[in-house]
Symmetry: D3
Subunit: 144 residues, 6 copies
């Protein structure tokens, strides 16, 4: 084992150390399981501009957090939809995560209901924007 | 029926019309079912300053929205926790809704896990603040 | 009266109950008075994806709140412009509400002045984005 | 005239140049007219930690912007209340500006109505927090 | 000197008074030094819709604040990138300020690293959006 | 090596696996170097309520990100102050990070200047709140 910080192994911040490649691969497997190819496309699109951001989205967000056993994937997507609706300006991420919500088993009406519920706390404009993203995602599924 | 806008009945904005009292009573029943006395205390505290805000929290947020069949109460609380964590500055509302989350059946670890999950999308400071609210709510339950 | 929650009438959450249709119709009348056809187009666009969100925008936002006598329409639009400028990411809603502001009697210079005023509290980027929406709305009026 | 940037006069960023003292004095006069002593107390409280922030609140926010003729003081306060309610976490500033709103002639019910109106766009938690600030301000006025 | 508020000179809010033209010219010189023509294009684009907003972006943001000696331009751009990433919905302003960051001497990797750093505090979606803006700015530089 | 996701070693989400303890220890060393005991106190305070949140603040935020070579600690703190000022409602985190900014070598006037600079983009209320936190941190240093 060379991850001991006092040892002479690769630094923790080296995203291409064997440990970090393993963490990233685990995260990419989780991401691909819930998002299919869409999430991976986001990571790939970061390769030229900020590979470290792509690494941490995969290794941390999906490998470390999403895969934790404390909450099932549908519950995670409900929280994510609540957060992204509230933040605003996250339409591209909402698009990925509404797709993921469908993939892990949430129904279309549960998704639009979650957004309507969010309107109470985050206001109608945020809910309207999120609902229009949902419509776009659902329409994309109907075509395929 | 006197709710026709063209008829001579009470105006829709009259929060003490029979229709609106009925809507508010329905909301207060939902609120009391999920929040016990805490939520009602918030409504009561508004009586002197903004009774209309209290009315609409009860009639709209709980009567019209929370009671809709499209999403079960645990799912609604997960969305709410996501939204309130993301918004920030909503510690008093988080306190009520983390209590409500426990009341409708979410476990303590599911609540802290939902907040950890929100950290990915809303950042760590928001998650830290929400987690400290959860600790306060859980501690209050241990005392009672 | 069948809105008593203990009675056997339609549930409060049934957006197509006679009471809720009446509330929605009242809201649509308010909306049409201040927004002309633009606001209604938003409601209509929700019919296929989230009719309940469309219902509550009309019945609650416009029927219950906008029509209250405590604040005149120009004042309501000033508050709305302040809120939407501050939230950010609400350009589509700003577009509707800047149009509504003109409809209820605010002048173009009052609208841009309100946005400049908001810059002090919400920062220049939010004010710039809102001002560019105002330009688009005003240009649309010049064409018609 | 020594404000020409190419001339040898004091730099524009020198907050104690004669021109900037004049701008600040003008702003302090506006601030004192609408806020009485409360606003000035905020500026004074910055003297030891960030005098430049205090200068720009007075000279820019009140001297340059608030005093512009394009919008009357009541309208400015309505926009400000909308922005501060929407931002959240600005309770100290809301306290000053709800006081200012009363000073320039808005009624208590107009203020709580403006906050209720903001709930539609910014959500109920933000409106609840702002309403509780209004209650505190109104209570302070009843005592004096 | 006619800036004394009690004197009969032009009002402080008159953005075309000699004093304000001098302040604006100073700001435009700062803006042009760090942004080249991009920033000026934003000011110019405001001439028809809100010349006062354009004036205050130049005179206040760049003339009064940016040019202060307390922080070097690279540090100012790091703060600006942090703020704009966190706010969200400020992609047009991020585009200008990432360009300015390159102009004042920050490297591309410092900029993407600053955005990655911001992800910890503001969440991954905000960092992703800011990184995609950086890619666009960098690509534009490669072409020229 | 047992971190291969297909191998039988501890799961990546097990925050007490040897790899994760090593990552956390590295992060705690970084945290202690820049924050002294304050940051560690935050992690410790999470032990009873959300040990995983504490783990990821240490292992991810400080071990993975803060320690990266692409940006020096002063630059990281400028970005952090920008983000936290803009978010609002993060006063406890600002307190820790303004202390850290002093620890890594930023001067008091650079910190208040960074917050003043943020006012342009995030508005004066956010800058006022952050400045009052700075005053509190500086006063605490004067006592010790």
């Amino acid at each position: 084992m060379t991850t001991n910080p006092d040892a002479a192994g690769p630094a923790q911040h080296d995203i291409d150390s064997p440990d970090n490649i393993a963490r990233r691969d685990r995260g990419l497997a989780v991401l691909s399981r819930i998002d299919g190819h869409q999430g991976e496309a986001v990571i790939d699109s970061l390769a030229d501009i900020s590979p470290a951001l792509g690494h941490h989205v995969a290794a941390f967000a999906f490998g470390d957090i999403y895969d934790r056993p404390g909450l099932d994937p549908c519950s995670r997507q409900l929280v994510t939809i609540g957060v992204l609706t509230a933040l605003g300006g996250c339409e591209p991420q909402l698009k990925v995560h509404i797709g993921a919500a469908l993939n892990v088993g949430l129904g279309r009406e549960e998704i639009t209901e979650a957004i309507l519920h969010a309107a109470v706390y985050a206001g109608f404009p945020r809910a309207l924007n999120a609902t229009f993203v949902a419509r776009e995602v659902f329409a994309g599924r109907d075509v395929h």
